[in-house]
Symmetry: C2
Subunit: 138 residues, 2 copies
């Protein structure tokens, strides 16, 4: 079977075979150029509503994990019972709206580059994330 090569490549490069279920996941995640912040539950709900096929939770989890590992998705560090992912993998940061439990992008240009002077012997910095928690301003 052949699939949209756009998605097929992403999958193969993430170490996954293209299958109906995974292509469907790709369609939801990568169809639009817009940033998309989601939890696994969100993703499953969207697939259920759109799709003619059923995708099991296990498949959603392992596909998202593979994309995250490969760097096609980014997991956002926030304290929440669920993991949040972002389809915008460019270097940028986030507001986390604590009233609504919602992430909002902060463009790279809206934050001066974070310079960390401290170093740890034998370790290198893999990523730097800025999370600004916001609440209603009264």
């Amino acid at each position: 079977m052949t699939y949209d090569p756009k998605y097929e490549n992403k999958l193969r490069e993430s170490g996954l075979r293209p299958t109906k279920q995974r292509i469907k996941i790709c369609e939801v995640l990568f169809n639009s150029t817009e940033t998309f912040h989601f939890t696994i539950k969100d993703l499953v709900k969207i697939i259920e509503n759109q799709a003619n096929i059923k995708v099991s939770l296990a498949t959603v989890y392992n596909t998202v994990h593979a994309f995250n590992k490969k760097g096609y998705l980014k997991e956002i560090p926030i304290n929440s019972s669920q993991s949040y992912y972002d389809t915008n993998i460019s270097h940028h940061h986030h507001f986390f709206d604590e009233d609504e439990n919602k992430l909002i992008d902060i463009d790279q240009n809206d934050v001066d580059e974070v310079m960390i002077k401290k170093t740890i012997p034998g370790k290198k910095i893999k990523s730097i994330e800025v999370i600004a928690k916001i609440v209603t301003d009264n």
Copy 2:
């Protein structure tokens, strides 16, 4: 019953009555001037090893939550199945060592102040956290 006023105040200001169990939790958390990064499981383990009294999980959770809410503890935003807390509530940031699942403080002076230009109408920034993930440097 009367207790060490140092801990009694912290508890009362967090909206909690001082009790044997909560004082014990305070002793573990606030005895030292040193920074202490911990999970609930860590805390329970330390109490079990040190204490002559038993403290239930529920009590540990609700006491830690009250301190966090009041600001005597800070929850650190990282992606982990468990929540991490820090007894160092001064303005500072963190490395998260992904090899060892361990937090390391980064002093405020080791990071230039993070300035965010973007604003969200009706919202104010409550906190800004920088998390730098580190891994073994090969």
